[in-house]
Symmetry: C2
Subunit: 339 residues, 2 copies
């Protein structure tokens, strides 16, 4: 019993019927008598039958496999996205091949080759920093293999993208600062050629507007958002002829850097920092003064992206952009404790 080598033929032989009937029954086809079906399913269970996906897929010329390309698996946002993808894919009967581009376009290209060789049914991709367009996805296009960008996408028409609502997230973060009675809110912003930072900046501006706070050019400090930029950014703020009492960072790395530097020089302004970024819970819980606007968006995006891709696999004409909404992480207890 429980032999892994049980095939539909074994079941057919024992029951004195044909293997095609067994196949139908196992696939829950309506073209099998209820009685026969029951008999077959019972016997299958008894023998410990397990479908051989290899054979099944060969016959159907489908692999039931999705390729996933991320810059780096170990970044929390991506690992949680993968968790969401895996779960969704699994439920739908798909396996997932996960690859990391390590922010290299060249690696991204060679990964696509490998995925092609593996005959994946579809691809989920979050592009590397080096990637400027989708030319290297030609192989997929040629073979009509659907793909969906998630989070990092090329700004290209007729593609499917799953992204976060950056405008809204930024808006919420800044509004939170305003609720805390901050009036001079600085913004550490990112490269304005990238959609996400443009939208976060817009959200910042819009929140100020809504609450009739004058927008000041000099409060917006643009950088590449590395931790090392943070000290410079903070210095610029401190050099201003008035006191800043709130800070909105366009990502968590620069927020962490800013807090570190502020601690280092023993200065406690600004009183509130908010950041839009993909912090993991552990980080968030350590950085008390920072408020992260995005509540575990990784897995949400992963789920949405996987679902969209699976839809596209059955109907490749679907093109859409899904904007995932985010929540403010509420950490009231810690937020105002250390003023």
């Amino acid at each position: 019993m429980e032999n892994s080598k049980v095939t539909i033929h074994d079941i057919a032989d024992i029951l004195g019927i044909d293997s095609s009937t067994v196949s139908r029954a196992l696939n829950n086809s309506p073209r099998v008598a209820k009685k026969t079906k029951t008999k077959i399913l019972t016997k299958a269970k008894e023998l410990g039958y397990r479908r051989n996906h290899l054979a099944s897929n060969l016959r159907k010329s489908k692999t039931n496999t999705l390729g996933v390309i991320v810059p780096r698996i170990s970044r929390y946002f991506f690992s949680s996205a993968i968790a969401g993808i895996e779960e969704t894919a699994f439920k739908a009967g798909y396996n997932v091949i996960i690859c990391q581009s390590l922010e290299s376009l060249e690696r991204e290209q060679s990964i696509l080759d490998t995925l092609l060789a593996n005959r994946v049914d579809g691809v989920l991709i979050s592009i590397s920093m080096e990637t400027k367009n989708d030319n290297h996805l030609n192989g997929l296009k040629l073979r009509n293999i659907p793909y969906v960008f998630f989070d990092r996408h090329c700004n290209i028409e007729k593609n499917s993208n799953v992204v976060i609502d950056d405008f809204e997230a930024a808006f919420m973060a800044v509004e939170h600062l305003i609720d805390q009675k901050c009036t001079e809110i600085a913004h550490f912003s990112g490269p304005q050629n990238l959609e996400i930072y443009k939208n976060r900046f817009k959200g910042y501006k819009s929140a100020l507007e809504k609450h009739n706070i004058t927008f000041r050019e000099e409060l917006v400090i643009s950088s590449s958002l590395m931790e090392k930029d943070a000290a410079e950014n903070v210095k610029k703020i401190l050099a201003l002829p008035f006191n800043v009492d709130g800070l909105f960072c366009a990502n968590d790395v620069v927020a962490i850097g800013a807090m570190k530097y502020l601690k280092e020089i023993g200065i406690k302004i600004p009183e509130e920092i908010a950041t839009v970024g993909f912090s993991n819970e552990t980080i968030s819980s350590v950085i008390e003064p920072a408020l992260t606007t995005i509540n575990q968006p990784g897995s949400k995006i992963g789920v949405a992206a996987a679902n969209l891709l699976i839809d596209k696999i059955s109907d490749n004409t679907i093109h859409k952009t899904i904007i995932v909404q985010t929540n403010l992480i509420q950490r009231k207890s810690s937020l105002r404790t250390y003023k």
Copy 2:
């Protein structure tokens, strides 16, 4: 050109030879004339031939797939382990199915079923907190499917484990505390059914011994190492009739929780906290007072585990335990700044 549907038969037909010869050539068999082989390989490349792994694997009844079970993908240690596994597996021509048990034995069991159904060639597993033994791996044993434990393992003979040198790591961490003149060092320890926590406890004890510090039962506080346990643990320490001046945490989650709680109640003891855990760099840079003993071991362990499993797949008699050595992360600048 570049049609993905090129088969060995197409090549054979064009060249006027048999498909079996083509197959041999493509598999670099020595039983093909050099000239023919070159001809075949050239034509294959020209036509953009790609082997259909499905068919190949069906014939060979191998899936070239490894199953990986981890408690949670998004924990930094595991995502970096997965990165290492992926890379190693990929190079060796294996794909990887990644699953998370979410610390549930039940889920772990059902994942194993799924992996069996997927006919994986081998399994890498890091067990859940609930898992006490390897009984649920019976399906693998029955079918002679090799498996390797990594990081979290059952302490069972004749299994293959890839682990960190927990004893050594803990010893180093505690010795570091002693070097900082701590004498009353508490230990937040974990479930003693898990080898890793047992060994970290041993390392703690051993370091004390070496430096002639009396071991005190009441300084060891066992919990499930969740962040929520931390507050309770700290309370127990504070209730002691003497002052604790050092703290060694068996993992980083509880260390972070402890620091949070200490901050919250405005208490600055203990002066030094060390933790053995798999912190990511961002976390480490935020948690100044904590010293993490293990320097990015995840991918190291992943690579070692995948290699061992692949070895076992070809020779299932290999049984060994690989102990991966670790380094102390040095963060002198921050360590003593905020006392």
